[in-house]
C-alpha cells in the first residue's frame, strides 16, 4: 500500500520567538453548521455562500436580554438594521422581541415591511429627508435628532402636521475613549445637548421622549458605558428638575464587541471581549445609582448590532489556487475577497478547513479573487495545506458583511438560513447578469 500523501513543507525554526498567534494547537476543522455538513451546503448552493444560523441568533439574543433584564426591570432591544438588514434576519430579531433601529429612509421602509409598528422604530442618523420625517412623525416613530438643522426642520414640519413628533436627541460625550466620536449628535460636555433639550422643551408641539448616545463601536471595556449611562441619567434628572418632565427612555446605543480579533490586537478576541453580563453590570449600575423615582424608572434601550449577529454568520468558500511569492511566503487565493468580506479590513478573521488536515500549517497570506491589490483576506495566518478546490469556513461574519458588501468584479452570492429544525432556506438569491440588464440603459446610438 502506498503512503498517504501530504504536500512537502519546510519551515524555518526561529529560536525562542513564537509568532503572534503561533502557539496555538492546529486548527480544528469546521465540518458542520447546526448539524449540516458544510460540503452539502456548498454542493447545493454554490461557492462562496453565506450561512446564517437562526439558532445562534436566538441564543445570543436570549443571553443578551437576560444579562440586562436580570439587572434592570425595563429593557428594550432595537435591532440595528445596518448591521444586517436581510428581512429574514430582522424578523428573527423582531420575533424575539426586538424593535427596529434604522438610519435611513430605505431602512425605515424595510422595518415597516417587516411589520414593525411605527412606534417601535427608532430613527437615527444624520440624514433624514422631509419625506422621511413626515412618515416617521405620522407613525409616531422615535426620531433621534442628530443636529440643529434637523431640529429646526422638525419644528418647521410641526407647523403643518397634526401628530406630535416623538423625539430624542443623540449626544456625543467624553467617556474616556479616544478618539472620541464627536461627529454624531449634540455634544454633552460643552452644553450643546442641554441647549437642544431646552429648545425642544420650549416647543409646544413635540414630545421629548428619550436621550441617546452611541459612544463608539467595538468597545473593549464596559467602563465607558458606565460613564455614558451616568451622564445621560444625570441629564435626565436635570430635565426633570427644570421642566418637571420625565423622559421615558435612556438609549445607550450599540458598540459591544463581538469575539472577532481586531487587526493589530495582541490577544485573540475570544480571550479579551467582555461578556454581556459585564456590559450590563456597568450600564445598569450607573442607571440604578442615579436618582430616579422608583415608580417612574426610564426604559433602557439597547441598539446592539454586531455582538448579537456576528457569531451566527459563516462564509463558506473554496480555494482557487496556491502560489509562492517572491519572498518565499505561501499565498492562497480564495473565491472570497474583500468585496463580500468587508470586515476583513478590520478583523483577523478565523478561517477553518472543512476536513481534518493533520498537524501541518504554513505561514500563508490569503488573497481574494479580485484582480486588485487591496484584496487581502488575511495578511498572515497559520494555515493548513489546502489544495485547489478544497473548502473552508470563515467564522463570525454575521455583522456588516451582508450589508456592506460590494458588487465589484464578481456578483454577490446567496445567503442561506439554517432554521431551528435544521432546514435550509435561501434568504437572499445570488446576483446574476440580469441585475445589470434590468438597471443599465444603453442609449439608442450605442445599440
Amino acid at each position: 500500500m502506498k503512503k498517504i500523501y501530504q504536500r512537502p513543507t519546510i519551515t524555518k525554526i526561529n529560536e525562542g520567538m513564537p509568532s503572534k498567534f503561533g502557539n496555538r494547537a492546529t486548527l480544528k476543522a469546521i465540518t458542520k453548521i447546526d448539524g449540516i455538513d458544510v460540503h452539502e451546503i456548498i454542493n447545493k448552493y454554490g461557492s462562496p455562500v453565506f450561512v446564517v444560523s437562526e439558532k445562534t441568533i436566538r441564543e445570543k439574543y436570549k443571553q443578551a436580554y437576560s444579562a440586562f433584564s436580570t439587572r434592570y426591570p425595563k429593557v428594550q432591544f432595537a435591532w440595528s438594521y445596518k448591521t444586517n438588514y436581510n428581512d429574514a434576519v430582522c424578523r428573527i430579531f423582531h420575533q424575539q422581541g426586538s424593535w427596529a433601529e434604522v438610519v435611513s429612509g430605505f431602512e425605515y421602509q424595510k422595518a415597516i415591511n417587516n411589520s414593525v409598528a411605527g412606534n417601535n422604530i427608532i430613527f437615527n442618523g444624520p440624514s433624514k429627508s422631509d419625506e422621511d420625517l413626515v412618515l416617521a412623525i405620522n407613525n409616531r416613530s422615535l426620531i433621534h435628532i442628530d443636529h440643529f438643522d434637523e431640529l429646526y426642520q422638525i419644528i418647521e414640519l410641526t407647523k403643518t402636521l397634526s401628530e406630535r413628533p416623538q423625539v430624542a436627541i443623540r449626544m456625543n460625550m467624553d467617556t474616556g475613549v479616544y478618539p472620541q466620536w464627536d461627529r454624531f449628535g449634540f455634544n454633552y460636555d460643552n452644553g450643546e445637548a442641554w441647549t437642544a433639550i431646552n429648545r425642544i422643551m420650549m416647543n409646544e408641539k413635540m414630545d421629548l421622549r428619550g436621550l441617546h448616545a452611541h459612544i463608539g463601536t467595538y468597545m473593549m471595556t464596559p467602563e465607558p458605558y458606565k460613564v455614558a449611562a451616568f451622564k445621560i441619567a444625570t441629564l435626565a434628572n436635570k430635565i426633570k428638575q427644570k421642566w418637571q418632565h420625565s423622559i421615558s427612555y435612556i438609549d445607550v446605543g450599540g458598540g459591544f464587541a463581538s469575539q472577532n480579533t481586531l487587526k493589530g490586537a495582541y490577544l485573540p478576541g475570544t480571550d479579551t471581549t467582555p461578556s454581556f453580563d459585564q456590559y450590563a453590570q456597568a450600564i445598569t449600575d450607573a442607571i440604578l445609582s442615579a436618582d430616579f423615582d422608583p415608580q417612574n424608572m426610564p426604559f433602557l434601550f439597547l441598539e446592539t448590532g454586531r455582538a448579537l449577529i456576528d457569531d451566527a454568520g459563516y462564509l463558506l468558500g473554496s480555494v482557487l489556487a496556491n502560489k509562492r511569492l517572491a519572498d518565499g511566503r505561501r499565498a492562497t487565493i480564495l473565491d472570497v475577497g474583500v468585496n463580500i468580506l468587508f470586515t476583513s479590513f478590520w478583523y483577523e478573521h478565523e478561517v477553518y478547513p472543512t476536513k481534518e488536515t493533520g498537524f501541518q500549517t504554513e505561514d500563508t497570506i490569503l488573497y481574494g479573487p479580485l484582480c486588485m491589490n487591496i484584496d487581502v483576506v488575511r495578511q498572515s495566518i497559520k494555515f493548513p495545506l489546502l489544495k485547489k478546490g478544497d473548502n473552508f469556513v470563515i467564522k463570525r461574519v454575521g455583522a456588516y458583511n451582508m450589508t456592506q458588501w460590494m458588487q465589484f468584479i464578481t456578483l454577490r452570492p446567496k445567503i442561506v438560513l439554517i432554521d431551528t429544525n435544521g432546514e435550509m432556506h435561501v434568504i437572499r438569491n445570488n446576483e446574476t447578469l440580469d441585475v445589470f440588464k434590468d438597471s443599465e440603459i444603453i442609449p439608442e446610438h450605442l445599440r
Binding site: 502506498k2 500523501y5 501530504q6 504536500r7 513543507t9 519551515t11 524555518k12 525554526i13
Partner: protein
Amino acid sequence: MKIIKDLAISESGFVFNPLTGESFSVNEIGVSIINYLKKEENLQQILMSLHEEFDVETNELEKDFNDFVNMLKYHNLILD
C-alpha cells in the same frame, strides 16, 4: 543543482544547515525528498520514486515537488 554538503537531517524532520547554523523542520515527505536529493540529481527519477511511494496524482506531485525544491533554494539549502 546540488543540495548542500553536510546538511544534517533527522528521521523526525529536523534539518540543520552547518554552514549557517540555521535549522528547519520538514514533514515526512520532505524528509524523503531531501534524502533522495542527497543521493540523486535527476529530478525526474526522484519524482518517479516518490510517485511509487506515495498515493498522489502526478500533476499534483510535480507542482508540490517543484515548489518544495524552490523553497530549498530560497533557504539556500540547494545551490545552483
